[in-house]
């Protein structure tokens, strides 16, 4: 009974000859991507960019790199890439909802901020003040004392 049950859940039998080379290759890819992400994260800190296009560009690149990492983990480590196409689709298609969720909720948060700034003068002035102070606070040297 147990055997029969287990067998129904196997959608594909992986080739036992698959070498560990691919696994290590993906490990190096993940490691390099993480290093690049860290480099970009630290450059955000070192350059201390003002809120603007360049800062959003760097953050955008970091997000895309993270998605690439997610792709490698799911497709190679989790072997989803080796499953049959319809199985992949039942997993991936519902996750498309996230695109809408992210856009909608972030837009909502942003609009809440704008409304508050518009109708609550104190809140708005405070925000301007805080961001002004933030800009004046230069980051400590890496490895230096806090």
């Amino acid at each position: 009974m147990e055997h029969a049950n287990a067998a129904t859940e196997v959608t594909i039998h992986h080739e036992p000859a698959e070498s560990t080379k691919r696994i290590w290759k993906v490990f190096w890819i993940l490691l390099v991507i993480t290093m690049v992400e860290l480099g970009l994260g630290l450059s955000l800190y070192a350059l201390d960019l003002p809120e603007g296009l360049r800062m959003h560009l760097i953050k955008g690149v970091i997000i895309i790199l993270s998605l690439a990492k997610a792709y490698y983990i799911v497709s190679v480590f989790m072997h989803l890439g080796d499953e049959i196409r319809n199985m992949i689709m039942t997993i991936v298609v519902p996750l498309m909802l996230f695109i809408w969720f992210i856009l909608a909720f972030i837009y909502d948060g942003n609009s809440y901020k704008n409304l508050r700034n518009k109708y609550d003068r104190y809140y708005q002035e405070r925000g301007v003040q805080q961001n002004q102070l933030k800009k004046e606070t230069k980051p400590t040297k890496f490895g230096g004392k806090d």
């Binding site: 147990e2 055997h3 287990a6 859940e9 196997v10 992986h14 036992p16 698959e18 560990t20 696994i23 290590w24 490990f27 490691l31 993480t34 992400e37 860290l38 970009l40 994260g41 630290l42 955000l44 800190y45 953050k59 970091i62 997000i63 993270s66 990492k69 997610a70 983990i73 799911v74 480590f77 989790m78 989803l80 997993i91 996750l95 996230f98 969720f101 992210i102 909720f105 972030i106 909502d108 948060g109 942003n110 901020k113 700034n117 809140y123 925000g127 301007v128 805080q130 961001n131 102070l133 933030k134 004046e136 606070t137 400590t140 040297k141 890496f142 490895g143 230096g144 004392k145 806090d146």
Partner: protein
């Protein structure tokens, strides 16, 4: 079925992270992660932004690799290989949890001097109800606030820089004595930051940490089952594969937690 469970779990994590994003976008000010996460165990006050979390990320990726290797050995029906790589995966999971324990303890017990709403100074850590990561305060405001701070507050400030006396001992001293012990040049004061930061940070990394913990428990059970030959009798190592799926999912979630809290 494992895949559908993981899909539902990813919606839970996704909802948490999106709610965090929504709140973050609704604030005028949000602390940048390089200022918040800049310490390393044993390095004291040295400014090492993102160094410790890089180590945690590396540990988790590494344990994901050892997990694939365990699954790989399972395909070949190699019991000793499975046991070896499962053991390493568990070690990786435990290392990650220990790192997280240190990070949490450090954030909660750290002593940061902040400007309160009453324009006095106070010492707080990063908790669910307090956030010390606001912008820095200028020297004139610090001097004024210091004069308005009660003795208990001054005692805490002295204690934050110098642990040779307890707060109780310091609180017994006179105001002038305490003021003499405060070095104005070393005094780094910030405003309070958004309170929501603590709840989201501890909530989401805690929920992820709980997943790591349950993954370690599942992996330990799998290790024992593999060691005692249960899978050899069954004739396949499918259970290892499913535990592996869960473990990779934990790694996958960390990619996004790392992204949302530490990088951007």
């Amino acid at each position: 079925m494992m895949w559908y469970f993981l899909m539902s779990d990813s919606f839970t994590f996704g909802a948490f992270l999106i709610s965090y994003g929504s709140i973050r976008f609704s604030q005028n000010y949000w602390p940048s992660p390089s200022y918040v996460f800049n310490t390393f165990p044993g390095a004291g006050e040295t400014n090492l932004p993102l160094a410790f979390v890089s180590l945690m990320t590396f540990i988790l990726i590494m344990s994901s690799v050892t997990m694939v290797l365990a699954v790989h050995e399972g395909h070949h029906g190699n019991r000793n290989g499975v046991v070896k790589w499962m053991a390493w995966t568990i070690v990786g999971g435990l290392c990650f949890l220990s790192c997280q324990a240190w990070e949490w303890t450090h954030l909660i017990t750290s002593e940061h001097i902040v400007l309160t709403d009453k324009n006095t100074l106070d010492v707080i850590g990063q908790t669910m109800s307090g956030n010390p990561w606001g912008p820095a305060v200028d020297p004139t405001t610090i001097t004024q606030a210091l004069a308005a701070t009660p003795v208990e507050g001054l005692a805490k400030i002295v204690h934050a820089h110098d642990h040779s006396h307890t707060v109780q001992q310091l609180a017994g001293m006179s105001r002038d004595q305490l003021m003499g012990m405060i070095n104005m040049n070393e005094l780094h004061v910030t405003e309070k930051g958004p309170i929501a930061f603590g709840g989201y940070f501890f909530g989401i990394t805690g929920f992820h940490g709980f997943h790591v913990f349950s993954g370690v428990v599942i992996n330990t059970i799998m290790l024992i089952m593999a060691k005692t030959g249960v899978f050899d009798r069954k004739g396949h190592y499918l259970m290892i594969e499913k535990a592996g799926l869960y473990w990779h999912f934990v790694d996958l979630v960390w990619v996004f937690v790392f992204l949302c809290f530490y990088l951007i």
